[in-house]
């Protein structure tokens, strides 16, 4: 972690701080966000609600799933109505062509199918995955610990407040166990 005296922010994706545990990370996030940083992300080995809250993380996934479910419902019922009543009307024992009660199982399955597909693919799309390469993987400590027991905080260089020395100082003052460069 010996940095060159005159540091060039070109080629730097950001700075990463490592914390001992989730509580430390939450404190770190609070400090960094109080200082006005916006382009901040945190990395935890498992979902940590306190970290998400401190980060102010929001998600629109429930709305995506709802939209998928409604689309499935409309497509499922519409398909059956159109094919049974309009495209291929078939009189079965005098039953009405739009025998909607019989259409419920398929409508339900289509609702679940499209809602489920939008849950999974919506999550991937919102997370920008698949993305096999990302600058954070350039930090050796991160790849070693991130998916086991490491708690990391990232401040991106594109943040308007980002200043290499100042940000680094702030991070090390926030209870971090180590601060690392994240090369692009």
């Amino acid at each position: 972690m010996a940095h060159p005296v005159e540091h060039n922010d070109e080629g730097l994706y950001g700075l990463m701080a490592e914390y001992a545990d989730a509580d430390g990370l939450v404190q770190g996030i609070k400090k960094i966000r109080q200082a006005g940083y916006k382009e901040v992300d945190a990395f935890t080995p498992q979902p940590e609600h306190a970290v998400n809250d401190a980060l102010g993380a929001k998600t629109i996934i429930p709305w995506i799933v709802l939209a998928g479910g409604v689309a499935g419902l409309l497509i499922g019922f519409g398909l059956q109505y159109w094919s049974s009543a309009i495209a291929y009307p078939l009189n079965v024992g005098g039953r009405p062509l739009n025998s909607w009660i019989s259409f419920l199982p398929v409508t339900f399955e289509m609702t679940v199918l499209l809602a489920g597909l939008s849950a999974v693919f919506g999550t991937l799309a919102l997370a920008g995955l698949p993305m096999p390469y990302h600058p954070v993987f350039n930090v050796p400590k991160f790849t070693e610990k991130n998916s086991r027991d490491g708690f990391f905080l990232l401040v991106k260089a594109e943040d308007p407040h980002f200043d290499y020395e100042q940000t680094q100082f702030l991070m090390s003052q926030s209870g971090a166990e180590g601060v690392y460069d994240v090369p692009k």
Binding site: A20, S83, E109, L129
Partner: protein, 484 residues
């Protein structure tokens, strides 16, 4: 910080209650132990022998399918009047086995049952492989499986559309949705663990393979936020789905007019039977696996006991279903129903031995699970689970074959017997199921490591808010100690 109900859930309530996670683990030890099963496999010879046997059975399955495609479905034993037999028995049997996976992963997640965590991945895998086997049967039973795309609604030059008023078409949608959603749910749960394997793998090929399948997951808190909600929503969607699937499967029978099938008790009774068979299969897999891979810390006796209790309860519901079925037949005062469901089935019919065997397997023997001594004996539980699996298979035989072979006209009565191809295919699907299971255990973490870390974190924070869960020095204090 946790709310008190969850706190209580992880604490031993009575003496003898075992925790959901053995004491002395920290985040690193959990992760390493789970991923080492995949990354540093031990005792390869047993796995190789198992692989060889199940591979041979898989080949047997493929051979019997090839023979079927070559000669047509006349190679199966089913013929009028038993137009449905082994194919549908095994279809329903396999679908039922799949249901415990969804129950464990989805319903227990919604109910915040923390003990589900170490068994959900394996149960979901069982679901997937069971449904894959189940799907084979109706697809092959169409007789010309290369035209199976006709089952789906698509604009075609014949100007035809599927008959959406038929339960058989509902089945197509239910099973394909179930398979898709189960696969997605399983893969979504795997994603963070594949990332762990990617980070921990040493070989280049392994790193690349896990890297590709982990899609570049990097445990970002912003991603977790979306991920958790999506996972929860998937669970909420899977819960009614799993119930709808077996309900629709039961409609295949209940909507018809065959005596013994035409009854409204079928949907709930089939769903309960599915859970019963499914838990039996999960126990049959989990009991040897926890021993062989030395993961009794994670799949504790608490899990085995809880699953035994659920199995006992669903078994009682199934037994109640049998009673209701008999009562409804008697109360209908319909001679055909009474003959099929009561007289021919149990007293005078040619297959009555199987019906009594079914009662023994599904109703009598599982009552042993009332005893807590039995529930602490994994060998006995394993044997009882095996008996239940046989019993559930017999149940489908009794419902399907016995109703078809003895219908309205005695002149059309005939016996049914499976052929060699039938039996080869059935044993082949069991081999294929175990084959997939062996591959799963070898290449994918069979316990969800990230959810175990989360569980550890919850358990450790339930007592002391300030205790640090990831610090290895504090590793010993993080989990409640067993009561006895």
């Amino acid at each position: 910080m946790l709310s008190s109900p969850q706190h209580e859930a992880t604490q031993p309530k009575t003496a003898g209650q075992v925790p959901v996670l053995a004491p002395g683990h920290n985040m690193r030890s959990i992760t390493d132990k789970i991923s080492d099963i995949v990354l540093k496999p031990k005792g390869g010879i047993g796995w190789v022998i198992g692989f060889a046997i199940t591979f041979a059975l898989t080949m047997q399955l493929l051979f019997s399918i090839g023979w079927l495609l070559l000669r047509g479905i006349g190679v199966w034993g089913n013929n009028q009047p038993a137009s449905w037999a082994f194919d549908i028995i095994n279809f329903v049997w396999w679908i039922g086995i799949g249901h415990a996976g969804t129950l464990i992963s989805a319903i227990l997640l919604l109910l915040r049952q923390q003990w589900r965590t170490s068994i959900n991945r394996m149960a979901e895998a069982i679901t997937l492989f069971a449904v894959a086997n189940a799907g084979l049967y109706p697809l092959l039973h169409t007789g010309r499986p290369w035209l199976d795309y006709w089952l789906f609604p698509y604009p075609n030059t014949m100007g035809l559309w599927p008959q959406f008023r038929s339960p058989l078409v509902w089945d197509v949608f239910a099973i394909s949705t179930y398979l898709t959603i189960s696969l997605l749910f399983w893969y979504m749960g795997l994603l963070p663990d594949l990332a762990t394997l990617r980070d921990r793998a040493t070989g280049k090929i392994k790193r690349m393979a896990y890297g590709i399948f982990s899609l570049g997951w990097r445990n970002s808190a912003r991603h977790w936020k979306t991920y958790e909600q999506a996972y929860f929503l998937l669970a909420a969607l899977s819960t009614p789905l799993v119930i709808s699937v077996h309900t629709i499967v039961s409609f295949d029978f209940a909507v018809s007019v065959i005596p013994g099938w035409h009854t409204t008790v079928f949907p709930p009774y089939f769903v309960a039977g599915a859970l019963y068979a499914g838990f039996a299969m999960v126990l049959m897999v989990a009991i040897p696996v926890r021993k062989i891979f030395n993961i009794e810390d994670f799949i504790t006796m608490r899990h085995i006991r809880n699953m035994s209790i659920i199995m006992l309860v669903s078994g009682l519901v199934v037994a109640y279903g049998y009673l209701t079925e008999g009562f409804a037949a008697w109360y209908s005062a319909n001679p055909f129903e009474i003959d099929t469901v009561l007289l021919l089935r149990f007293v005078t019919g040619p297959y009555r031995v199987l019906a009594w065997l079914l009662i023994a397997c599904n109703v009598v023997i599982p009552q042993l699970l009332w005893s807590s001594r039995v529930r602490s004996n994994t060998v006995l539980i394993w044997l009882i689970s095996g008996v239940i699996s046989v019993g559930m298979w017999l149940e489908r035989f009794v419902i399907i074959v016995m109703s078809l072979t003895n219908d309205f006209l005695p002149s059309s009565w005939a016996m049914y017997a499976p052929t060699v191809t039938d039996i080869a295919m059935y044993t082949g699907t069991i081999g294929f199921f175990l084959f997939l299971l062996l591959l799963f255990i070898r290449f994918v973490p069979m316990i969800s490591a990230f959810e175990m870390r989360e569980l550890l974190h919850k358990v450790s924070h339930s007592g002391d808010h300030h205790s640090s869960s990831n610090d290895s020095q504090h590793g010993g204090e993080v989990v409640p100690v067993p009561g006895d």
